[in-house]
Symmetry: D2
Subunit: 328 residues, 4 copies
């Protein structure tokens, strides 16, 4: 469903070309300073780049509807929405009949019997990640410098694009090929206390991967050595403790043991598929005629959506950690 | 927490060296034929192999405590437990002070202030996956030949061990090195209807990865092309529809679009780290003295825990799909 | 928390004197016809009466932000909010220091460390029941004439005011005494299928009472004979079956057996306390000075809030039944 | 479903005449001293009285299967079950066809398509309240003398039987009439901090009534003045604050304002219907023949089930409060 979290709970809503997208943040403690300005830095980081981004321009100004009074959280649910301004829905006429490869058009239409708001991907649009970023801003405040003496720092970056570890090179490759391209995003978390995560089913990896896979276009996640661990010997992979605080000589586990944070840096990576809306012409089926036809996707799209993912990944990571910290 | 699922709900309990491990399956429809014999095939598949498995021998006989009457499910919660017989807890004395690298000993002791049952890994033990297999047997009955006309088939296998795609070769490599080794397990699901999964946060990938990462030793998951997708162009990665049922020419998405099943084969892979209890001697910290000491792990352990994972992976996959099907 | 329901899930937000109050309805099936006009009838029924109601006038116009497209539900979360227009917040200055008897002022301030939005009761205000009415309109559509052949009808009315079974008489009594007054509201539900409710903890009474007690001012609930049952013999109280459909000669159980609907009319009553904001002057403590002082409550209030409860009670009843029906 | 609670979570299972009934308590903090002896006092209080109780004798010995090690809770789920010994299932043959008035026989059979375990009421049996008592013992330890300085005391008693405020008199009335009889049970809670309860939907009254109505035979609940409040004026009903700690002159609200505990004594009452299994002969329908027939209920039953409710009511109250305290 459209809810996530146990104590720090978020509920997301909205469609790409509807009136607005938004989010309720429930369970946020009272007394946290919060104003519209606090959202600007992270929202700005999510904006498309000039070189490889969509030409759709949205102000992305957060409108706070509830839960904030005198510039502090009140303990009541915080509702934030973002009005959709720059909508060109006509670009999307016909996609119910000619489903775009890689997109949710086909499955959404089957699931919702044709009643789905198909414009711009509707509720499946990457635009909803803007709401995650907003919730992440609040979550970061909870996990940083809080009164339990915790000061967690989350940082994400793109580490490869289109197979190139030089991001610029990968983007240029896509531009040259007139095609979209995928990428890998890494997240590192420092200052994390020992023991976050809840056995048996709410391991840190479980909670993080759960929310990570709600970000559109993500197709893989790995912690620490991840898939490379499968090729290692135990004596190689094991992280040896070197002090009584639990610091380890290596960090192959990515800072998670037995599903719980072990106090070392948390490290994980996610795979972002190439934007499905490629500038290349494609084939697809026409659902009424049953004929294969050529499809040109107008709309306005990012060449490499991975570039916009880091701040979203930080946000969902902070959301998960805020929830675990409130539970601990 | 120790619960998973929305309508088909499981609650797990028990410790490796306590009286028993077990599971409640709540939300199972009434009238499904069920007897103790039904569990034998999958339980047998989870048993350690002679060549690379632990010498601990357990009968693993399911004891049904509730929810079954006249060999049919009643609609009330089904409780199944497995008595622990072959326990040698003395092997584990001292691990609270000398935490085993790669294990949960250290984090569990910090989280539970030294009150955790540390024997054999306690509640963090891989022995609890036996309970998942039991729940999986029931989940498979729900997704196979059910009265909605659905007949889903889930099949998992090890596709590499220690970097070798020949499993035997990988095991031999571990035996020769007198070390434990990791592996990769793949799962394929056929007969799946279009549209399972619930936006925004309960995508199929979200639900599957959530429960997969509660299986001990898993460090990565990828769907379809997974991490390889990050190096591809959109025009390569996109799966082109070839008929009005949504069949696609390729299946790079692994049968999932927009977080929903698209009717094509679902394919995903997980990375299993090498068993942390390697036969090699290791170093670790002594928490009281603060000195680094050498650690020999007695206990009884699998050289390659990945070999026992396929039936567990099938089980958790069936559990997720049963829940989605009851919701649909 | 601010969420209720398992499949038909609602999330409520907003404060009496903030920008808006609103609700997300998640889990609503796609394809239900829905427009702003559909809400008018029930919203109108919740409005204050001229004789005994608050002079605050609000347009109460629902603004649909998501989940509706081409006048049908889409299957995505439906967000509805109501802008607060007629706000006189100055009336509420000082209530943090001089907590109003019977109100949440004191407990809210303790719970939220003084950060709560205290204006007009903030998030504790009866104004939020407007959102329940909106969700109820949608829930009623689900339980009426649905494709499972179910057609449930919910109807509530005030059956006593201030101890008088003639409502007019009770109101006049309050006006004459220049005081607020309580009342009892009854709800009857017809057309209900056998077997709604989920053992052990989600009995129909459990789910109904849970949401009923989130309506401000409710202090009791009883089903069927309710408290009178405690004085009866078993042979008197038992409802004898008279046909194979389960019709009973009497209906002392109020249509619920073993926590499940039994197909007979469901009947229950709730007690609504007198509006805490009485026109009478009262005493209260001044939290800074510790002195008892006299308090005159300006603000704008209903003499008998029970009069506005029936449509709210219908709404929450429909919400519970919609959830159970989607689960069945 | 068969789960209750957010952080202190319980999952109940079992049938009256199956192998056992039991409960998992998840979310219990580690380090609480716990042994089998701790359960004896409250379990003893739940036993039937000689004068008005069922002749079924069960040892009711708790078997702890998990979550306790070295006589302390470990932080892992605590599983407790009670073997069913004194079973006479033949007494229940035929009740699927001749549903007992007032019992769940008819609704259970409809809901579970005849697959329910009907023996002794199966999963609907009052025997499951034994599990609630066990969980209550642990919950009481959490809310008493805990490290947040909280020391809450819960106490329940029968305040009327069959309309008589002298309990003995009410029982004698039932014995003389050879009939079962109902009663009213009151619960008082002292030492409760200000601010427990979570707006909007998880008021203290919501949470308490939710679990109270899962106890079989309960038909009403009221807080403070309850139904009598409906006949009062606001100036009468309001509780005036007399000190800065929030003590009030009267306690008509029953210690709850705005859905939150206000620090004054919490007081509420529940109505228990007469035991449905009366010694009187009754009529019922035969579902196969459609004929009304006379029914004599053998089985073994309490004349006044209300007598056994106080310790159960204490238990569920403690369960709710433990959950709120862990959340606070």
């Amino acid at each position: 469903m459209n809810s996530f979290g146990r104590l720090f709970r978020i509920h997301i809503f909205g469609e790409s070309h509807g009136p607005a997208v938004g989010i309720i943040i429930d369970g946020c403690p009272a007394g946290i300073p919060l104003s519209v300005d606090d959202f600007q830095y992270d929202i700005q980081r999510r904006k498309p780049t000039k070189k490889a981004g969509t030409p759709r321009t949205e102000s992305d100004t957060p409108v706070i509807q509830s839960g904030v009074f005198n510039n502090h959280t009140t303990g009541a649910p915080i509702t934030i929405f973002f009005v959709n301004h720059d909508i060109k829905s006509n670009d999307y006429n016909g996609f119910q009949q000619q489903p775009r490869p890689g997109h949710a058009d086909f499955v959404a239409s089957k699931k919702f019997n044709g009643f789905e708001d198909y414009r711009g991907g509707g509720h499946f649009s990457g635009r909803l990640t803007l709401c995650l970023v907003a919730a992440g801003v609040i979550a970061k405040k909870i996990i940083q410098k809080n009164d339990k003496g915790i000061n967690i720092h989350v940082q994400s970056k793109v580490i490869s694009v289109g197979g190139c570890t030089n991001v610029e090179e990968g983007i240029q490759k896509a531009i040259d090929a007139n095609d979209s391209v995928g990428g890998i995003v890494e997240c590192k978390v420092n200052g994390i206390p020992v023991g976050l995560g809840e056995p048996f089913f709410d391991s840190v990896e479980s909670a993080l991967s759960h929310i990570v896979f709600s970000i559109p276009a993500i197709k893989g996640i790995e912690f620490g050595k991840g898939f490379a661990a499968a090729s290692m010997f135990g004596s190689e992979h094991n992280d040896v403790f070197i002090d009584v605080q639990g610091t380890t000589k290596t960090n192959h586990s990515g800072g998670i043991s037995g599903g719980l944070t072990n106090g070392n840096e948390m490290v994980f990576r996610i795979s972002v598929k190439p934007t499905s809306s490629t500038p290349q012409s494609q084939e697809t089926i026409h659902l009424s005629t049953g004929k294969i036809e050529t499809l040109e996707i107008a709309g306005r799209h990012d060449l490499c959506i991975a570039l916009r993912v880091p701040v979203v990944l930080e946000a969902v990571t902070a959301i998960v950690l805020a929830d675990f910290i409130l539970m601990s």
